[in-house]
């Protein structure tokens, strides 16, 4: 994982408040500190949480946050 990307994801994880953990389904549960360590290592868990954040950032330009009507069309 590229260094700049790691820094970006770690910065985003830093905003998690104390006491808030994440369940990543069958991958297990993790605290903020643990997730940051996984991102630094670039292992499977680190890549998964990176994927979650990159997916979000990419969704900003696809318009997912526009209100949708019941047919799924963006209003």
């Amino acid at each position: 994982m590229k260094s700049l990307l790691k820094k970006l994801i770690i910065a985003r994880l830093q905003v998690l408040p104390p006491g808030i953990n994440i369940s990543l389904g069958s991958e297990g549960k993790y605290s903020k500190t643990e997730l940051i360590e996984h991102v630094k290592k670039g292992d499977k868990i680190g890549q998964k949480i990176t994927q979650v954040h990159l997916s979000f950032l990419q969704s900003l330009k696809t318009g997912i946050f526009y209100e949708q009507d019941s047919s799924g069309h963006q209003a």
């Binding site: 985003r12 990543l24 389904g25 069958s26 991958e27 946050f65 949708q68």
Partner: protein
């Protein structure tokens, strides 16, 4: 014949503990609507009980059964208590034949869902990636009081309420996504903005929820 709700809800670590607690809301709702409920809870959530119960649920050709699967999963399988196998592609996915299914589990929308549809499942709602949620580690003894987890698990409960209200699979799918979307919009526009960190995770679940099979299927 009465409509039947079959629920599997293991409870052996934090993730399954939260799903177990929220599934109780669905069970209570179904009972209030006079459905027959088969609750495979904790150690009862095993492959033998599921095979027996899916037979008891019966009348699948009439689309009378709703199956709610909670627990850890992968693209081609879902598990029960202590991570033991419940359903696996190529082994026993045919037990979902004739039912409307919602799998609150990771990744089963990739393979188990599509294969179940091929085996005669009417509609399969689930996730084609990991289902994620955040929780307050000080609330794990009372999951329903955890306001952080609630943002993730209330929409999944609403999906089930919608199916139990005789709405279609597609309507249930849309209502759950709309609820997630509303939460995201509120978090992004809130003056306080102190929970905006939740948005990427809600967006992940919203993006990866799938509705397979017949979108007009109901129970």
């Amino acid at each position: 014949m009465n409509k039947t709700l079959l629920v599997t809800r293991p409870d052996y670590e934090i993730t399954t503990h939260y799903l177990f607690a929220y599934a109780q809301l669905v069970i209570d709702y179904a009972k209030a609507r006079k459905l027959t409920v088969i609750d495979l809870a904790k150690s009862k959530a095993n492959i033998h009980n599921l095979a027996k119960a899916s037979g008891e649920a019966g009348s699948r050709s009439a689309g009378q059964s709703l199956i709610f699967l909670n627990g850890h999963g992968a693209k081609n399988l879902i598990t029960g208590q202590n991570g033991h196998l419940l359903i696996k592609v190529g082994f026993n996915e045919k037990i979902l034949k004739g039912a409307v299914v919602y799998a609150l589990s990771c990744q089963t929308g990739k393979s188990l869902g599509p294969k179940s549809i091929l085996a005669g499942c009417l509609a399969y709602l689930g996730y084609d990636e990991d289902f994620v949620f955040l929780y307050d580690q000080n609330s794990t003894s009372k999951p329903l009081n955890d306001t952080t987890a609630q943002l993730f698990l209330a929409p999944t409960t609403q999906l089930m309420f919608t199916l139990l209200g005789n709405k279609t699979a597609q309507q249930a799918h849309q209502i759950a996504m709309s609820q997630m979307q509303t939460s995201i919009n509120q978090l992004l526009t809130s003056q306080a903005a102190d929970q905006a960190y939740l948005v990427p995770y809600l967006t992940w679940n919203l993006t990866h929820q799938v509705c397979l099979g017949n979108p007009q299927a109901t129970i």
